[in-house]
Symmetry: C2
DNA sequence: TTTTATTTTTAGCCTTACCTAAATCTTGAA
DNA sequence: TTCAAGATTTAGGTAAGGCTAAAAATAAAA
């Protein structure tokens, strides 16, 4: 069964908002995420229900089906593989990839994705540190902690960001807090939760709690 | 000014059918090429006229404008660059690339194409031997001759095909007459125009005139 | 030159994916 | 427990890109 580009986008949004089908999602949430109106969402939910990628009872809410999860994970897989391609092969900066990957993820060709995956050496994580589902939709995720939750002297590696707005990514790039950077907490100010961090054993960085909240770290 | 995917496809068809604006094209020709009906074409011609990529006088015919040529060449450039990528980097066979490139050519991102071009080392020809326009739409084409027009003892290199149907491409692949193959005419049968050819200095190949008509050779 | 055949265009309809405005359902507060 | 606020859905409309059937223009043939 084939989904249109719009349907794929809605399904992906639902998958993300529901945290993979765990949390419940409202019509308004979806409208906000997709930059559309609630009325348009209602309409689309009916269609997605008919295609059986969600189970939809009006006024009561929705539930992603197994089929829906497979479709969503497939789209996410394509998005993240293209992001890896853009950064590793075409030297895009990580704040430039999202918009293009958003288009590339809708190219239909199983062979293309299989070959791309192989060409990129079966990457497990995208440039933002998010895990790439395999062709069966399986995800190996690493346990991650927000940078602001770490204590003085703890160490780790930056593996993902929560806010992937271009402004935030550019800021991180500027201060050298790239994905993969090894960090150590040097000091933590109790008053405002701000941090002093050692990056890659050389650069010292001062960071507000607001920024730290949006950085995910794999502790070591 | 932005064109939709459908508009880009029509414009590309018009560009090809008119041989770059030289020949005149009929509504029915376009309908046949696009697998749509004449009524749909009329409608689209009106729209393309409004966007000034063609000059359109109803019942009289159309003429691609300079702006239209730029748009068409840009789409052709993208299509052919993606074909090079698919064949050279992802190991697609040349009879598998067309459909996927047909989708990829509509991705909008000037940066992507610029980087892709550089990543592929600014190729001048696609896997079928067709020239790739540069970013200004300029094309360096090589003088090419149909294989059936060559005489005994002449040599050259296969650089393009006229019929790019999957069936034809598969046939060529099977017999080893790939793009880039060096060939020499060993014998030519006057009666039916069929040829005996030496491929890459090792393989001898017998070929009907019908097939030879569809193969373009750069003589040497 | 008239008539017929062919090509092209218009008219009117369909689907997708959006919209606004109005109706309807659910829920939380009195 | 009733009722207003808030969320959700329906009703009806738009634009793009298709379609068929009918009308109009051009081209060809008698």
């Amino acid at each position: 069964m084939e989904l249109t580009t719009a349907e794929e986008n809605y399904l992906k949004a639902i998958y993300h908002l529901s945290d993979g089908g765990k949390k419940s999602v409202s019509t308004n949430d979806i409208a906000a995420e997709m930059n559309t109106k609630a009325a348009s969402v209602s309409d689309m939910l009916r269609k997605l229900g008919e295609k059986e990628v969600i189970e939809y009872r009006k006024y009561y809410g929705l539930q992603i089906t197994e089929s829906g999860k497979r479709h969503a994970l497939q789209t996410i897989r394509k998005h993240r593989l293209w992001e890896v391609f853009l950064v590793e092969k075409l030297n895009f900066a990580w704040d430039e990839v999202h918009e293009v990957a958003e288009q590339l993820e809708h190219i239909h060709s199983p062979l293309l994705i299989q070959r791309l995956d192989s060409y990129l050496n079966y990457p497990k994580f995208d440039p933002h540190g998010d895990p790439i589902p395999d062709e069966f939709g399986d995800v190996r995720s690493r346990p991650r902690v927000q940078l602001n939750e770490m204590e003085v002297d703890q160490t780790g590696q930056i593996v993902a960001v929560k806010d992937s707005s271009a402004a935030f990514l550019r800021y991180l790039d500027k201060v050298g807090a790239y994905i993969g950077a090894r960090i150590k907490i040097l000091d933590k100010v109790e008053f405002d939760g701000s941090l002093e961090i050692l990056v890659d054993q050389k650069k010292t960085l001062f960071m507000s709690k607001e920024v730290a909240c949006n950085i995910l770290v794999l502790q070591s």
